[in-house]
Symmetry: D2
Subunit: 109 residues, 4 copies
C-alpha cells in the first residue's frame, strides 16, 4: 500500500506530461506483485526457511523487476526519446545520453 499521498492525475503538473507509460495498470499490478514478493521473502527469512528456497524467490523477484525495467525503458524510448529525436537539437542528445546511462545501470545491476 503506498500511502494515499497525492491525487496526482488531476492537480500535479509535475509529471502529468509524461504520458509515456503504455499500460500503466499492468505495470502497477506487476509492481504490486513484486512488493508482495519482497514481503514474502522477508517472511521466509524471519521464519528461517530453507536458504535455497529463499534464493529461488529472490531470483523470481529479480526477473520480475527486470521485466518492469525493460518495459518502462521500451516505453521511454518509444515516447520521450522518439519525441525528442523528432524535435531535434540538444534535447535529443541529452535524452539519448540519459537513456544510455540508464541502460548501463540496468546491464550492470
Amino acid at each position: 500500500m503506498t500511502e494515499p499521498t497525492h491525487a496526482t492525475d488531476s492537480d500535479d503538473g509535475a509529471h502529468s506530461h509524461y504520458g509515456y507509460i503504455s499500460d500503466k495498470s499492468k505495470y502497477l499490478a506487476r509492481l504490486k506483485r513484486i512488493e508482495g514478493q519482497a514481503r514474502g521473502i522477508h517472511r521466509m527469512v524471519d521464519e528461517e526457511q530453507y536458504c535455497i528456497d529463499i534464493l529461488t524467490q529472490i531470483s523470481a523477484l529479480t526477473k520480475a523487476i527486470e521485466g518492469v525495467a525493460l518495459g518502462l525503458l521500451d516505453d521511454h524510448l518509444k515516447h520521450c526519446v522518439l519525441d525528442a529525436a523528432m524535435a531535434g537539437g540538444e534535447d535529443a542528445q541529452l535524452k539519448l545520453k540519459e537513456a544510455s546511462d540508464a541502460i548501463a545501470r540496468l546491464v550492470r545491476s
Copy 2:
C-alpha cells in the same frame, strides 16, 4: 510466498534447524527497506514520474536484493553446505548441486 502463516519460531520444526542466517535482524531490515523501495517504485509509476528516475530506483532495488542473495548464499555455504560436506556422503553432493543451481539462477537473473 503464500499464506501469512507465522508463529514459526516456537512450534514449527520444519525449519527451526536452519540456524544458518548469520545476522537475521540485519537481513530483515534490508528486506524491509527493499519492500519500501518496491512500494516507492509503484508510487512513482502511479504518479507517472520521469521514467529515467524510476529506472534508477529499480537499479537500486536490484542491487539491494542481489546483496541479500549473496549474503544468504555465503551463509548457506558456510553452514549447510559445510556441515553436509563434513558429514560426507550423498547429502554433501546434493547440497552442492542445489547450491550450484541457485548460483546459476542468480548469475542469470
Copy 3:
C-alpha cells in the same frame, strides 16, 4: 587474428552505410584484448590453474565485453536510431523495437 580483410568502406555496399561507430580503432583494440583474454582463459584451463583465478579472469572478460556492448549500443542510439527517428515513420518504430530487444538480451545475459 581476424583475416586482414579490409577495403571495406569502398567496395562493400552491405555495411558501408553504417558509419555509426564513434571510435572504431578504440573498439578494435578493446576486442583484440578480449580475444587475448579468451585465449588466456583457455590456457589457464589447459594448465589447470587454480579455478578461482580462472573465474576472476572470466569476470574481467565479461566486464570488458559488456563495456564494448554498452558503447556500441550508445553509438547505435545516437546515430541509427536518432536518424530513423528524425526521418520518422515506420522505420523509427522498427529501429526502436530492435534496440529494445537488444537491450533486453544484454540485461538478461
Copy 4:
C-alpha cells in the same frame, strides 16, 4: 593471461594438483569457440556490420562464457571446496570465502 607458455602438463608442479576440472576437453572446446566468437565480433566491427547484429553476437559470447564460469564453479565446489570442508579447519573457511567472493563477482558482472 600472459606468455604462450606451455609444456605444462609434464613439468609444472604448480597446478598439477588441481584435478578439479570434470571434463577438461569440453571446457577447452568451449573456450576455443568463445575465442572464435571474440574474433568474429572484432571482424564485424572492423567491417562495420550492423550494430544490432554485433550486439546479438556479444550476448551469445557473454552467455557462453557465463556457462563456462558456472561449470568451473560447480567443479570447484564439488572438488576443492568439498575436500577442504572434509579436511576441516581454517582452510575450509578460506576456500568458502574465496568461492563466495568469486560468486559475487560473477553475479555482479
